[in-house]
Amino acid sequence: MRYLPLTEADRQSMLEAIRATSVEDLFRDVPKAARLAGPIGGLPNHMGELEVERLLGSMAAKNVPAGSVPSFLGAGAYRHHVPATVDHLVQRGEFLTAYTPYQPEVSQGTLQVLFEFQTQVALLTGMDVANASMYDGATSCAEAVMMANRVTRRKKAILSGGLHPHYRDVTTTDARFIGFEAVALPAAPTGGEDLLALVDDKTACVVVQNPDVFGHVRDYTDLAAACQAKGALLIVVVTEALSLGLLTPPGDMGADIVAAEGQSFGNALNFGGPYVGLFAVKEKYVRQMPGRLCGETVDADGRRGFVLTLSTREQHIRREKATSNICTNSGLCALAFSIHVSLLGEAGITQLAQLNHAKAVQMADKLAAVPGVEVLNDGFFNEFTVKLPKPAAAVVEELAKRRILGGVPVSRLYPGEMEDLLLVAVTETNTDADMDAFAAALSEVLA
């Protein structure tokens, strides 16, 4: 077996050193009835690289890669171009095969990356500080709500109908088991909900999304101030982090916590994971944050260095009193995010965000010209909702037969509801030809 360096001679001499008769003898504490006599049944024996490649390659070939066809899917996961440099650097073994930087003297690489990542996230969101990442945007959202409960010592969250329903479900699942109230408003495809009316003296937070799940771009400045006046926090969720390159950031609107999905930078679609949850807060809440934090310090020679810090919040120290049970971050995905953002820089991120928006405007106009199709959004970033004269799920299947991935039917996110609505996302990866092909195919399918 190519990954196992011990030879039979090694094993024999090691057994002698241990004074054991056999490897099986070392398992003598396992109840005999539970010890298998030999390799487990029902599974094949080992394979060489070539055979594994063939087998997994044949499975991969049964999928339609989004990049192989015109593709307009978003709803919390976006196909952006990832520069070649990103994947080259994340595959450096010193990043890929290291673990949590528990020994800072031999982990300054990972630690400086995390410090820079935290700074980038703080800058993008317009917040004071950010942590070293969470599992994904949805778990980040749920952790933000639990943090608001701790900060306010209240136990009720108001979830906007514009919040991605998967984020809502992760939060309400936690609410049920962890023991807080989550009031989820009905879906709001055209907006118009009065969140503030629901805020009372038991409300810990209001959770909104920008752009919301239907693509609407909103200004939450007034809502933030009004929530805070009632002693509640405003949590702003962002599922398309690239929008932060163009839109007024949540921090400037007065958000207390930002919970976001960072996949758009540096990370492939990967059928939904692994992604990278972003988590940023106002400075005064730092000690109530979940997750890892990297901080600056000096070493014994007085030189600048970095360490994991404020770990007294965390489970390995505080055990049942920890702020969260989270033990990992999304390290390598955060690294990919950070490298991509570094490559873009100020000029690149602005242009990329403008490019996405301009293309989405063009696509919206092309779709609006298709008979029977109506664009619901006044304002949007790179994703918007269209109303179709037929059920969107069936239309998407028809488009797939024509080798076009034409967006996400809203009914897939809200079973049995809003069957005529379709979410369409457009990024820099979509060409003019892609957009024309989509509009033409949609005309055909709807005809």
């Binding site: 011990l6 050193a17 820079e116 778990t139 690294l335 953002v341 690149g348 006044d378």
Partner: protein, 523 residues
């Protein structure tokens, strides 16, 4: 002035006061160890590392929100970015570069085949919300992984949704609570957790609204069965137990433990962090376990990536099988289907935005297929053999906490350092100078000054011998009274001991732009 063998002056020339006091070089660099400023300190306005197409000229439609003025990111060209991250990478210790015996973390070799497979566009470039007709291969892969995990554990069901081990624990405890609730049993408010448990166990139980009751250990490092029985009752929802446990020992009484837990109407959660010791040799279902998470990044070698992403599938016995979160794969009439909404069955809810850590699923299945049943048998055998070998070779100079055989890791405590003035931390730092990543320190909490060594099966005997020789020499040196040597370690790393107290007292968690000179002058 001395001259080197080429006749050049080798002393520092007079008047050159700019040599770094620590390294003795002008730059502060030390050969291959190159100092690297923050990315923000390398900014030049307008510079970028990407070339993008021109933005089409259309009227903006942002609605209520104005475009932001500026983000504040630095501008660097591509070669600068490549050099920045390359230099940073060289300040990291990694499995690729050396022995990484971090106990309880299973730092084994990460095969590059797995990376290649995960990057096949058919897996990496697939959107989670594509029509299921276009992702049949992705669902087949998830189904295959589920089959392997169920076969290796003997369990009835599996969820792939949780993003990491601790997330899997959360999932398992939620399932246990759902099952009690389904029976109308609301009186169970406690989870029992041994003192030796990972910190995530009590944190998870507490997060799920349970009170945590600690079970003491026996003198031989196992759960005290009688103490456990005394605490079991109608108020106990479940037991969370790591097996093999965090002392590196197999819980000999595990079947009796399971029976006692079941007799009390509670469920048996196993923390599968240490599954690598028994994978392919022992099926957890045969031990009476009801639910267990599996860290794909440990046992099945998906890379640790500097702290994640992990992946924590959870396997369930028949009794808990209905209570899994969405989404999950089913076999439909037109191939594989995906159940995505909790309303469609007894699923307890949702844990993550999409379908789980697909990128990790591909890597883990690639690892499993490469090993096969015979390779996994050999791998767990070698993992246990390596740990016992390290233990046997160190026993006479260090103090093993418990009698062997151990499983995949061996535990020492600091009794051998008593009276020397050298601590577990000092030993760890001295090991760094020898070119090793230290073992896990001060965990588990049940012994004093713990040193937990997990070699894994992917280390050669030569590598273990070098490590053992270094550790033996350090133990002797500590006993000889050379405290100063240890307290000054590490000496040879890019940074020496870091002031963690200062970092926590006045946290600096981000770079901030320097205050412009004119603003300072105005103050």
């Amino acid at each position: 002035m001395s001259m080197n063998n080429q006749g050049r002056p080798s002393a520092i020339p007079a008047g050159a006061a700019s040599f770094d006091g620590v390294t003795g070089t002008v730059t502060g660099n030390r050969g291959l160890q190159i100092e690297e400023p923050l990315i923000f300190e390398q900014d030049s306005a307008g510079r970028t590392g990407v070339d993008l197409p021109d933005v089409p000229k259309v009227a903006s439609r942002l609605g209520a929100v104005k475009p932001r003025a500026r983000v504040g990111l630095p501008g660097l060209a591509e070669p600068q970015v490549v050099r920045h991250y390359t230099r940073l990478s060289q300040k990291n210790y990694a499995i690729d570069s050396g022995f990484y015996p971090l106990g309880s973390c299973t730092m084994k070799h990460n095969p590059r085949l797995n990376e290649k497979m995960a990057r096949l566009p058919g897996f990496s470039d697939v959107h989670p919300m594509q029509p299921v007709s276009t992702v049949q291969g992705a669902l087949e892969l998830m189904d295959q992984l589920a089959y392997w995990l169920k076969t290796l554990t003997g369990m009835a069901a599996v969820t792939l949704a949780p993003a990491a081990g601790a997330h899997g624990e959360m999932c398992g405890i939620m399932a246990i609570r759902s099952a009690h609730e389904a029976k109308g049993d609301s009186g169970r408010t406690k989870i029992l957790v041994p003192e030796s448990a990972h910190g995530t166990n009590p944190a998870t139980a507490a997060a799920c609204g349970y009170s945590v009751d600690a079970i003491p250990a026996t003198a031989d490092g196992r759960v005290d069965l009688e103490a456990l029985k005394a605490k079991l009752g109608p108020d106990v929802a479940g037991l969370m137990l790591t097996n093999p446990n965090t002392c590196g020992l197999f819980e000999r009484d595990i079947i009796a433990i399971a029976e006692a837990v079941h007799a009390a109407g509670a469920y048996f959660y196993c923390d599968g962090a240490n599954f690598n010791a028994i994978v392919g040799r022992v099926r957890p279902a045969d031990l009476g376990i009801d639910v267990m998470h599996i860290n794909l990044h440990k046992t099945f070698s998906t890379p640790h990536g500097g702290g994640g992403p992990g992946s924590g599938p959870v396997v369930f016995a028949e009794s808990l099988a209905p209570y899994i979160p969405v989404p999950y794969v089913t076999h439909g009439k037109d191939g594989f289907a995906l159940v995505e909404n909790a309303g469609e069955g007894p699923a307890f809810g949702r844990m993550k935005a999409f379908h789980g850590q697909m990128g990790m699923f591909v890597r883990a299945l690639s690892y499993m297929l490469s090993h096969g049943a015979d390779g996994l048998w050999q791998a767990s055998g070698d993992a246990v053999l390596n740990a016992n070998y390290v233990m046997a070779r160190l026993e006479d100079v260090m103090t093993a906490s418990f009698e062997g055989p151990c499983m995949h890791e061996c535990l020492f405590d600091d009794r051998f350092l008593k009276g020397t003035g050298v601590t577990t931390l000092d030993m760890a730092k001295a090991l760094i100078d020898e070119g090793f990543h230290p073992m896990t320190m001060y965990f588990p909490l049940v012994v004093h000054g713990a040193l937990l060594i997990e070699p894994t099966e992917t280390e050669s005997k030569a590598s273990l011998d070098q490590f053992v020789d270094a550790l033996r020499a350090l133990a002797e040196r500590a006993k000889s009274g050379d405290v100063a040597y240890f307290q000054a370690a590490p000496r040879l790393t890019p940074r020496r001991r870091l002031d963690e107290t200062a970092a926590a007292r006045k946290p600096v968690l981000r770079w901030t732009p320097p205050v412009p000179a004119e603003a300072l002058a105005a103050e």
